[in-house]
Amino acid sequence: MENLQCQCGHTNPPGTKLCESCGRSLTEKEQNSKLVDMRYEGTARRSQTYNKSIIDKIWNFFSSVKVGVSIIVILLVAAAIGTILPQQAFVPASTEATIKDYYADTYGSVGRVYHFLGFHDLYSSYWFIALVGMLAISLVIASLDRFVPLYKSLKNQRVLRHPSFMDKQRIYAEGPGAEDTLLKAEEKLKELKYNVRTDKNGLLAEKGRFSRWGPYVNHIGLIIFLFGVMLRMVPGFYIDESLWLREGETRAIPEVPGYYLESKNFELENYTGEDGEEVFGEALDRVGTVAKNYQTDVILYQKAEEALPGASDSQEAVGEYAIRVNQPLKFDGYAIYQMDYRLDELKAMKFAFTNKETEESLGELTIDLIDPEKTYELESGAKVELLGYYPDFSGFEGGEPQTATPLPNNPGFLVKLTTPETPEGETSFITIQNTVEPLGENDYKLTFQSVETRDVSGLTVRKDSTLPILGLGGLIFMIGVAQGMYFNHRRFWIQQKADGTILLAGHTNKNWFGLKKDLDQVVDYASLPAYTDQQDEIDKKEKAEKEGEALS
C-alpha cells in the first residue's frame, strides 16, 4: 500500500481517512459524507489497513470489538454453566473415581453428563483458561490498534485545519466577525480552563484530552491483574498448605522454613441468647445453634539463626496470638487462617492392668494415641508390650487388623501382657468396649479407665506475593474507568478569514450538552456567529422525510 499525499502537501500513512495535518477528507466516502467520522481522528488503524499476511489476520481478529464482546459473552455463558452443579472443590469426594461416582449418584444422568464434559472442574479446564487468555490478547491488541494512532494524531494536532474539515464537524458556524473576535474568544476559553493555541489567523482550544486515554488505562489495569494471576504459577509466589494442629502440639509450619506453631487451645463458642444476646432469641429458636467464634490460641516460634537443623531447644517464641476467622495471623509475608476444626479427638487412653479373677490391679498405664510407646513397665513388675497399634481400626483383613486413617478415631491395640507370674505373656486385642483374646483365655486384662480428648484446629497456611500486583491492577482499572467515563475531551477550532468571516467548529467524544454550554458562553462574550448542531439537522431532515413518506 502506498502513502497518501494530501493536497496540502502532507504525506499520510496508508489507510488514513482524514489528513493528519489539515484534516481534509482523503477517501471518497469521507468526502461525500455530510459529517466526518471523528472516531480515532480519522487516523490509519493497522487493523483497517492491512489484511494480507497471517499476522495481519490475527491482528485484525483480535482488534475487533465484535470479537472482544463475543469472547466476553462466551466467558460469561461458560462461567454460568459452571454454577449449574457444584464444582468438584465443593463436593465431598477427593479422588477421581469417587468424584465421578458422586456426580452420578447425586445428580443422576445430568451429573454423569456434567462430569463427562468436564464441567465439574470447568474453571481450571484448558479451554476456559484459553478463553481468558484470548480475552487478554484481545485487550492488548484492540488497545494498541487504537491507542497508537490516536495518540500520535492528538499529539501532533495542527491549529489550522482545512475549511472542509471544519464544516463537516457536528458543531459548526460560519459568519461575520469583529476584529477582536479571536482575541476575546481566546480570553473566554482560557477562563473556561481550555488550553488555547493560536497560529496566524486561527486558534485551537482543547480540554480534557486525558479522558481519551481512559479505556486504554483501564485495559492496562486488567492486563496487570491477569498477569498477577498468572504469576502464581511461578514457584515461590504462592503457597497454599493446610495444617492440622492439636491442642498442646507444636509443628513445623509447612512450606514456611524456620517457623513452628504451637496450639495452646481451640475454642468454639456458640450464641447463647443470654447476656445481651436476648435480641437474637427468636432467630436462635428457629435455626438452633449459631456459631459465634472459632479461635485457636497459638504460640509462634522461630528457629534461632545459628541453630543446627533439628535442634529443638533452639526455638525462640515470637509471640502468642489468637487466630480467628477474619483475623488471620500474619508474619513475614505469610498468613495463617482459622479454617476448620475437629472437636474432642482422642488423645490418650488410661487402662488398669487387672487380674481377671481377683480384679486386683497391678498398676495403671496411659497410652498416648498419637505417639504410643513400645512397652509400658509397671512398678509391680507387670509389663505391656504394644505389638500393634491401629489408630482407626476398621476390621480384619486376612486375620490382620486394619486402620482406615492415621487419626485416632477408633484405636485398636494388639498387646502382650506379662507379669512375674506369667513371664511367657498373654496376647489380647483391645478396642473401645471390646477385648479379643486370639490365643486362648487369659488371666490378665487391661481394663479401660478413662480417656483424654483434645480439639484439633484446621489451619490454612498461605502466602500470596501476587496480591500487590493484583491490587495495582485493580487500582489502575478504577482510575482508567473514572478517567474515561467521568471526563470528556472537548475541542473548538476557530479561524478568521481575510474578509473577517469566522469559521467555528466544535467536537467532543461525549456529552455534547456540556460542549454546547461552554460554547454558548464563548459565543455571547466574543460575538461569534450562531452555531448549528448538524447532527440534529440531519436527524430532523430524516424524520421529516420519513413522515413525508408516510403521508404520501
Binding site: 454454577t83 465431598p92 432467630a283
Partner: protein, 394 residues
C-alpha cells in the same frame, strides 16, 4: 417501643409512602396531556416529596435496625433484599434530580415496593452474625454492592420505559412477546407474595421426613400445600395433602412447591388483569409513556450504568476479593455468588463495548439494560435460594 419495633414501623411508613408516591407520579405523567414540563412539575414536586419522606423513613429503618442488632442489616435475605429496594429508590432519587422525569418514578417505585414485599416473605427476626461475617467488611462490601445494584437497576427501568414506548403492540413480534414476558415475570413476584401471605395467614404447615441427596434422613416443613414431595417422603402431619409427585433427591421439592404456587397465583392474577382491562399489561402502561422523551430515557439508561458500573466493580469484585482473602484465605474461589458477580460485571462490560464501540443505542441498549437487571435478580434470588454455596445466607 423498642428499637427493633421502631425499625419495622419505619419500614411500613416507607412502604406506604412509596405506594402513595407511585400514584402521584402516575398522576404527574397522566395529567400532563400537553406533554409540557410545567404541568408535570406541579405533581412531580408532590410525588418526589412523598418519595423523599419514604426514603428518609427507609433510611431510618436501616439505621435503627443496625442499632438494634449491632451489625449492619445486610446479613441475610430479608435484610439484603430490603436494602436493595431502598437503594433502588435512592438511585431513582439521584437520577430524578439529574433529569426530572416523573415517569421513571412511576416505574421504579412499584418495582421497589415489589422487592420490599418479596423481602418480607423471608424470616425477618434479628439474627446473630456467624464468625465469617463479623468484620467491618460486611458493611463496606455489601453496602457498596447494594448501592451499585440499585443504581444499575435504574437503567433497566429507563430501558423498560423506552421499550414500552417504542415496541408496537398492535403487531405480533418477538419484541411484543418479550416485553409482555417482563411484565408477566413482575406479576409472578406478586404471585409469590400473595401465595406466601395467603398460606401464612391461614397458618398452613405440613411436616415431612425425607432422604436427602447424601442419603441422610432429614426433615422439612412445608408452608404451602405440598404438590411435590421430597425424595422418599413420610408425612408427619396427619391431615396434610398427599404430594402429587415425588421428586428425586437432587430436586428440592419444597422449593419447587413454592415456585409452583407462586406461578399459579401469579398466572391467575395476570389473567385477571388481562380480563379486566382487556389489554396486555404493556398496553395498560403504554398511555403513560406517550410523552416520554426517548433520547432522555436512553441517556438515563446509559448514565445509570456509568455511575453504577464502577461502584459495582469496587463493591462486588475489589472489596469482595479483599474480604475473601481475609476471611477465606483466598481472594477468589469460584463460589457461585462470586461467579455470578463476575457474570454481571462481564455483562455490563459487554454493554459498554457494544454501546461505545458498536453504536448500540436506543432500543438495543434498552433490551440489554433489562437483561442486566434480570441477571442481578437471578444472582439475588436463584443463587441464594437454589444454588448452594458459601453465600447462602437465606
Amino acid at each position: 417501643m423498642t428499637l427493633a419495633e421502631m425499625s419495622s414501623n419505619l419500614l411500613y411508613v416507607a412502604f406506604i409512602a412509596y405506594l402513595i408516591a407511585t400514584f402521584v407520579f402516575g398522576g404527574a405523567v397522566k395529567g400532563n396531556k400537553q406533554g409540557t414540563f410545567k404541568s408535570e412539575k406541579r405533581w412531580g414536586i408532590a410525588a418526589i416529596t412523598i418519595t423523599l419522606i419514604g426514603f428518609a423513613a427507609n433510611l431510618g429503618y436501616f439505621f435503627t435496625r443496625w442499632g438494634a442488632t449491632g451489625h449492619p442489616p445486610l446479613s441475610n435475605m430479608f435484610e439484603f433484599t430490603t436494602a436493595f429496594g431502598m437503594t433502588l429508590v435512592g438511585g431513582f432519587i439521584i437520577l430524578y434530580f439529574l433529569y426530572r422525569t416523573p415517569v421513571l418514578g412511576m416505574i421504579v417505585l412499584p418495582v421497589a415496593l415489589l422487592i420490599i414485599a418479596f423481602a418480607s416473605m423471608f424470616p425477618s427476626e434479628v439474627s446473630p452474625l456467624i464468625p465469617a461475617l463479623q468484620t467491618n467488611w460486611l458493611a463496606i462490601h455489601v453496602s457498596t454492592v447494594v448501592i451499585a445494584e440499585g443504581i444499575l437497576a435504574i437503567s433497566a427501568a429507563a430501558g423498560l420505559i423506552y421499550l414500552l414506548k417504542v415496541v408496537d403492540l398492535t403487531k405480533k413480534s418477538k419484541q411484543r412477546f418479550w416485553l409482555e414476558a417482563i411484565m408477566y415475570s413482575l406479576v409472578l413476584v406478586v404471585g409469590f407474595v400473595v401465595a406466601s401471605s395467603f398460606f401464612s395467614l391461614t397458618g398452613y404447615e405440613a411436616e415431612f421426613n425425607y432422604v436427602d441427596k447424601e442419603d441422610n434422613e432429614a426433615a422439612i416443613t412445608y408452608a404451602m400445600p405440598p404438590v411435590f414431595g421430597m425424595n422418599e417422603y413420610v408425612a408427619l402431619t396427619d391431615d396434610a395433602m398427599t404430594p402429587l409427585v415425588e421428586t428425586p433427591a437432587m430436586v428440592h421439592a419444597g422449593k419447587l412447591t413454592t415456585v409452583f404456587w407462586s406461578v399459579l397465583f401469579g398466572t391467575v392474577i395476570y389473567w385477571l388483569i388481562r380480563l379486566i382491562f382487556r389489554k396486555r399489561i404493556a398496553g395498560i402502561l403504554k398511555p403513560f409513556v406517550k410523552n416520554v422523551n426517548l433520547q432522555l430515557m436512553d441517556e438515563i439508561n446509559y448514565r445509570a450504568i456509568i455511575i453504577g458500573f464502577p461502584i459495582f466493580t469496587l463493591g462486588a469484585l475489589i472489596f469482595a476479593m479483599i474480604w475473601a482473602q481475609i476471611a477465606w484465605s483466598r481472594f477468589w474461589g469460584w463460589d457461585p455468588k462470586e461467579v455470578w458477580a463476575l457474570i454481571t460485571w462481564l455483562f455490563y462490560a459487554a454493554y459498554l463495548h457494544l454501546r461505545l464501540g458498536k453504536g448500540w443505542q436506543g432500543e438495543k441498549s434498552a433490551w440489554l439494560a433489562v437483561i442486566g437487571f434480570a441477571i442481578i435478580m437471578f444472582n439475588l434470588v436463584a443463587v441464594n435460594l437454589i444454588i448452594a454455596g458459601l453465600h447462602s445466607y437465606a
